[in-house]
């Protein structure tokens, strides 16, 4: 039914005729190397700056709708010191904002088949377990966790993960948030010692279009930094029962990007149009280059933190 290929050969001592199933052979020839799963296990150092220099009310390039923008502008950083919220993990979206590297491992079944890939946690992000065994995602009514629930599949040599059931969390640590209905899809693109994660955050509540991210890492034999010490609870004296916030129109940091980098407020408030080149035409005329950098950070010589 599947066809057979006949291989005949002879030598001075023997003559052989071998019948082989054609389909598995062709599959082997066609799939290798294109269908081979690649090994992602190991330590991967961050080579991107992350959001180390982060200004409040910077939502540039985030395709926010009105609800998303309003949610972000209502956020006060003092929420982090509310007892219920201190030392909470961020969601898996932090993979694209945090400064740390990746430690990737896999879990195998007794037959050697990979059951799950795991991205080890950071001090502020729970581990991501990518289930590869075909298990379904939980019901829509199942509880959401900051770590979410993630499954994966191979598309050729590219691992594609899909995360659902996250809680509301940060897109950026400055209060830009995604909803608990958001889903995160990540393509793991490996080229030798480079690994690029290309992600898509879909959020029907706060985004008017998918948010695309990409971030690169470099393989290292050293231990990647993932912990900067235990979380220390802060106390800003927030009264019990109070949730720090800003009412609409009262966020005092709305022009921080303008003060620091001459990025106009119409840009820092985000929106799908801020992702595309045409948007530059809107802000070009009023833009003035800053002649001296005062809030830029910069690594300079010496070891990177």
């Amino acid at each position: 039914m599947l066809g057979k290929v006949v291989i005949m050969f002879s030598s001075s001592t023997q003559r052989m005729k071998i019948h082989l199933p054609l389909f598995p052979m062709l599959l082997t020839l066609l799939c290798l190397p294109a269908c081979a799963e690649i090994d992602l296990a190991g330590s991967w150092a961050s080579v991107s700056q992350g959001d180390d220099v982060l200004l409040l009310a910077d939502y540039t390039g985030i395709p926010y709708n009105e609800a998303g923008r309003a949610k972000a502008l209502s956020y006060s950083q003092s929420q982090m010191s509310v007892p219920e919220r201190v030392c909470l993990f961020y969601t898996q979206a932090q993979l694209f904002g945090g400064p740390f590297g990746l430690r990737i491992s896999n879990e195998t079944a007794p037959d050697g088949k990979v059951v799950a890939w795991t991205l080890a946690g950071w001090e502020d992000r729970a581990p991501m377990t990518i289930w590869m065994d075909g298990r379904p995602h939980p019901s829509d009514h199942a509880p959401h966790e900051r770590t979410g629930f993630t499954t994966g599949r191979w598309e050729g040599n590219v691992l594609v993960s899909y995360t659902t059931h996250m809680k509301t969390g940060f897109i950026r640590r400055n209060g830009a948030q995604h909803s608990d209905q958001a889903t995160l899809t990540i393509h793991f693109l490996r080229h030798g010692e480079l690994l690029t994660l290309a992600a898509t955050l879909d959020d029907p509540i706060y985004l008017s279009a998918p948010l695309y991210w990409s971030r690169s890492f470099r393989q290292t034999r050293g231990q990647v930094e993932q912990l900067a010490g235990p979380c220390i609870q802060g106390d800003e004296g927030v009264a019990e029962g109070v949730v720090p916030h800003y009412l609409p129109g009262q966020n005092p940091f709305i022009d921080e990007m303008n003060k620091s980098f001459h990025v106009p407020v119409v840009a820092s408030q985000g929106g799908a149009e801020t992702m595309y080149p045409e948007f530059r035409n809107k802000i070009k005329d009023g833009f003035v280059i800053i002649d001296k950098c005062t809030r830029c950070g910069g690594l300079g010589p010496g070891p990177r933190r």
Binding site: I18, T60, H191, P210, F261, H262, Y276, P301
Partner: protein, 237 residues
């Protein structure tokens, strides 16, 4: 004995298939057809302020520069670049992918991919195999040698040398003529139907970079040339 023989045959065929793909005997037929067409930059991440506007003078956050490079960056003067006709320094091969705009990717001939940029009205040529001997003179876009990858995630690999000294960022962060850039082009199919191009680049420059500058940018496929807007190089925007 027989299984060993069969395995040997399979291995030999596999090596032949792999070798053929590696050498790029027929680059155009081996191409990812979806790569051809118009693409638009999508700028979403924390480096928005480095790409969509001109960053402040001296802002080289995230880069490990040598002291010589920092000296140049700190002395950046766009008026001087204008006056000397050097407005295209940030539109060289090592910088242009990060400038918001559109790409038009087409085959120039059977062994050469042509990548046109509306920003700065620049063109890069990706030469497959022995499509072109290494250039002797440096140019803004340098000499790029391409191959389809059969290992890793697949896609297109491009190595560029012979670049005229330019800027990694609009604000005068330099790369030198000794720089080498390796790029990987990957296609990602989105569930919503979008097709995304991810370009991961690794710039190595012993003169101005203490560590390789590795970053990735992304583009979205367009159905046509909508928005294609060739503009001249600008030192100030």
């Amino acid at each position: 004995m027989s299984f060993r023989f069969i395995a040997t045959i399979l291995l030999a065929i596999q090596l032949l298939v792999g070798a053929r793909a590696q050498t790029g005997g027929a680059p155009k037929t081996a191409a990812l057809p979806d790569l051809i067409g118009y693409w638009v930059s999508v700028v979403t991440t924390m480096d928005w302020r480095f790409r969509m506007v001109v960053p402040p003078k001296g802002d080289y956050f995230g880069l490990r520069l040598t002291p010589a490079a920092m000296k140049i960056a700190d002395a950046w003067d766009p008026a001087r670049d204008d006056a000397s006709g050097e407005q295209c320094k940030s539109y060289g091969a090592a910088g242009i992918m990060r400038i918001p705009g559109r790409l038009h990717i087409v085959w120039s001939d059977d062994k050469t991919l042509r990548v046109e940029f509306d920003a700065g009205t620049q063109t890069r040529f990706f030469h497959f195999g022995d499509g072109k001997a290494p250039a002797t003179d440096v140019t803004w876009q340098g000499n790029s040698v391409a191959q389809w990858e059969t290992s890793g995630s697949g896609g297109l690999k491009v190595v560029t040398t012979h670049m005229r000294s330019g800027y990694l960022r609009k604000n005068g962060v330099p790369y030198s003529e000794n720089a080498t850039m390796t790029e990987y082009f990957d296609l990602v199919h989105e569930t919503a139907g979008d097709l995304r191009l991810i370009v991961t680049s690794n710039v190595e420059d012993p003169m101005y970079l203490q560590q390789p500058y590795i970053n990735s940018v992304q583009f979205k496929k367009q159905a046509d040339a909508s928005g294609w807007d060739p503009t001249p190089c600008s030192a100030r925007w």
